[in-house]
Symmetry: C2
Subunit: 136 residues, 2 copies
């Protein structure tokens, strides 16, 4: 069911500053930047082999990433596993006991997404994604 690790996400205070590490120091390529207005986040994706590292910079105070930064400081925030059919995967995982933050897929930075509750993931916030067909 799970095809690959689509990306890992890192909460950062500033994407510009974080790129001094990922792009300038490590030499990783920036493949996409975006402003997610509805989630009040700026995001940047850097390539690491067959997967990507997503940098998450909140643009408002009313934001789960802002609260994460206040509580823990910058650092690893979640991982995202890619599936072919998100609705089917949610049904199958729910039957095995998974619980989701939202009951239905919603549009995210990497196509349709859904988050498994961190309690289910033993402290790890796990996103599932089904890439946009036009991008895939």
């Amino acid at each position: 069911m799970i095809k690959r690790l689509n990306h890992i996400s890192v909460a950062v205070d500033s994407i510009d500053d974080a790129l001094k590490f990922y792009r300038d120091l490590l030499g990783l390529e920036v493949v996409e930047t975006a402003k997610l207005e509805d989630r009040q986040l700026n995001v940047a994706f850097v390539k690491a082999g067959d997967t990507e590292i997503e940098l998450l910079e909140p643009t408002s105070q009313d934001n789960t990433v802002t609260r994460f930064l206040e509580r823990r400081g910058p650092g690893l925030h979640h991982i995202c596993l890619e599936v072919d059919d998100l609705a089917a995967a949610m049904d199958e995982l729910s039957a095995r006991g998974a619980e989701f933050v939202d009951p239905e897929p919603r549009l995210g930075a990497v196509g349709q997404v859904a988050f498994i509750l961190p309690e289910v993931g033993r402290g790890v916030l796990v996103e599932l994604n089904q890439p946009d067909t036009k991008k895939a």
Copy 2:
């Protein structure tokens, strides 16, 4: 210089319990388990596409993973980026301002490894690894 994300690591209280999520619920394959006597850790690797998720379970109190679990609870611990030549990568990254936990590569679960200080990684602990030639 960086070839791929070799693995991400998750600190867990119990590998047996964590496998109920990664193996039984998500359906990921366990590809390796090991006991790292010198680091007082049990580890398990599960496959996620071209990369792996490493589960880290401490076997003693005197352990950085034990302290991580006490401070933050179970969750994402570090990421590991693979290189061809670790000594050369350390030289190059040091010239760009990176600092390492240990000045020389040492033997880890995934060949020769070195950790970049989390201060350099903006709160993310980043391991570099050069796989064992016999395993590569």
